[in-house]
């Protein structure tokens, strides 16, 4: 434990309103702290510069999975374990369940939250690719009110959120109507469990007469943010996924992603694997 722990402060606001009040009263003074699976690692390494945290872990308004006829709304504090256990999510949004199952370990899944995953804004995050292909929306709340934004575009750059200093993510909303779509998810990590992803691919597609009527593709770990691969989608939308079409889509993908060399992997490996997973996706939806 490298941090000077006595220098850190944490409080438990009794309600959501109290938490938002605190955050509004001291701009950028207090940061929300959910399950801690990211922030505590930084603290241990002595790399957590912020000193004052509000524990939001027990706030009930931020929990729960509710379904209406048009949307499924997940509280920001929904843990990966809760995602995995939810039958409706497993049926209608299987990639989210898959992503949750491949995040960390059972112990991490019990404490890691969707909201925390989004707020941490790691390009290697495992659930955001699934959220992106499901056209997720975020409900953001502050002392001044609420706003709903598409998740696509919420991350502006590496670790840069469109989240105001006094805002909390309250809900993640997924529009229903995924029937008839094929779902594909593959995370390529450093090993088979408890792995940080090197490339993460999420894709959904609706086929009509052997052609791709519509699709969504999202990748993690190949750009400063988790990416909706809109160029690649364009190369495939309306087309029959023949080898020539797939090759063209792979070239579009190469132009769209910016993988890097880092401690875990290489730019070249990430590019190749992303392209191969794209091909695998196309084969899967054609079958």
């Amino acid at each position: 434990m490298r941090a000077f722990v006595p220098g850190y402060h944490m409080e438990t606001p009794p309600t959501l309103a109290a938490a938002l009040q605190r955050m509004a009263s001291e701009p950028s003074g207090w940061k929300p702290f959910a399950g801690g699976t990211d922030l505590m690692v930084l603290l241990e390494a002595g790399k957590l510069p912020h000193r004052k945290f509000l524990s939001i872990w027990k706030i009930p308004d931020l929990r729960g999975i509710a379904a209406s006829s048009t949307h499924v709304a997940l509280g920001a504090l929904t843990t990966y374990s809760e995602v995995r256990r939810d039958e409706l999510l497993g049926r209608e949004f299987p990639l989210l369940a898959r992503a949750a199952a491949e995040t960390g370990s059972i112990a991490t899944q019990n404490r890691g939250t969707l909201g925390g995953n989004i707020a941490n804004a790691s390009p290697a995050a495992d659930t955001p690719p699934a959220l992106l292909v499901y056209d997720a929306e975020l409900e953001l709340v502050s002392a001044n009110g609420t706003r709903v934004v598409p998740f696509h575009g919420f991350w502006k750059g590496y670790k840069q959120l469109s989240l105001h200093e006094d805002e909390l993510i309250r809900t993640i909303r997924l529009p229903r109507g995924t029937h008839g779509w094929t779902h594909f998810y593959r995370k390529v990590g450093t090993r088979r469990a408890q792995a940080i992803s090197k490339v993460c691919f999420a894709g959904t597609a609706r086929m009509e007469g052997g052609k791709i009527a519509d699709l969504r593709i999202s990748l993690g770990s190949v750009a400063p943010v988790v990416l909706r691969a809109t160029e690649t989608e364009r190369a495939l939308r309306g087309a029959r996924p023949t080898p020539m079409v797939i090759r063209a889509a792979q070239e579009a993908l190469a132009r769209e992603i910016v993988p890097i060399n880092d401690i875990r992997s290489t730019a070249h490996y990430r590019l190749r694997v992303a392209q191969n997973l794209l091909a695998e996706f196309c084969e899967t939806i054609s079958a």
């Binding site: 434990m1 000077f4 722990v5 006595p6 220098g7 850190y8 402060h9 944490m10 409080e11 438990t12 702290f33 801690g36 699976t37 505590m40 690692v41 603290l43 241990e44 390494a45 945290f53 524990s55 872990w57 374990s81 960390g104 370990s105 059972i106 112990a107 991490t108 019990n110 404490r111 088979r192 469990a193 408890q194």
Partner: protein, 165 residues
Amino acid sequence: MPDSQGKIRVQCEVNGKAVSFEAYPMERLLDALRVQMELTGTKEGCGEGECGACSIEMDGSLVNSCLIPVLQAEGAKIRTIEGVAHSAQLSALQQAFLTHGGAQCGICTPGMILAATNLLARNKNPTDDEIREGLSGNLCRCTGYTKIFESVVEACHTRKREQDA
């Protein structure tokens, strides 16, 4: 002298007993267990939530205690390795670890037993894959996992026999 915030008092239940201790709010639950509560059975292997040596049960869920700030343990029901055996009677899992070589150097063993205990509480008859997945957050450098796996399977059989009896 760097700026220091105050300590807080935390009250929770550990291994069935009410406890109360003082700590900095973002002190790790792992350290509170080992130092304030003197329950040294829970171990630190990595300090980054990767090895699972610090695994405990908190309100019935398996968690890495090195990643929990004590403030969030307020009011929680916690079980550590010290709370697994029933006084002198080892649990079926502990007994199986003994007979089937599930523990070598023993440093991963408390966390491994918590993880396996938690798995069997959620799933009485796990498949081989489910056992592997349930323990995938606990690293062992000594055993290569084969005998840990065999210990868990043995414990399942023992518990089934006891139930059928």
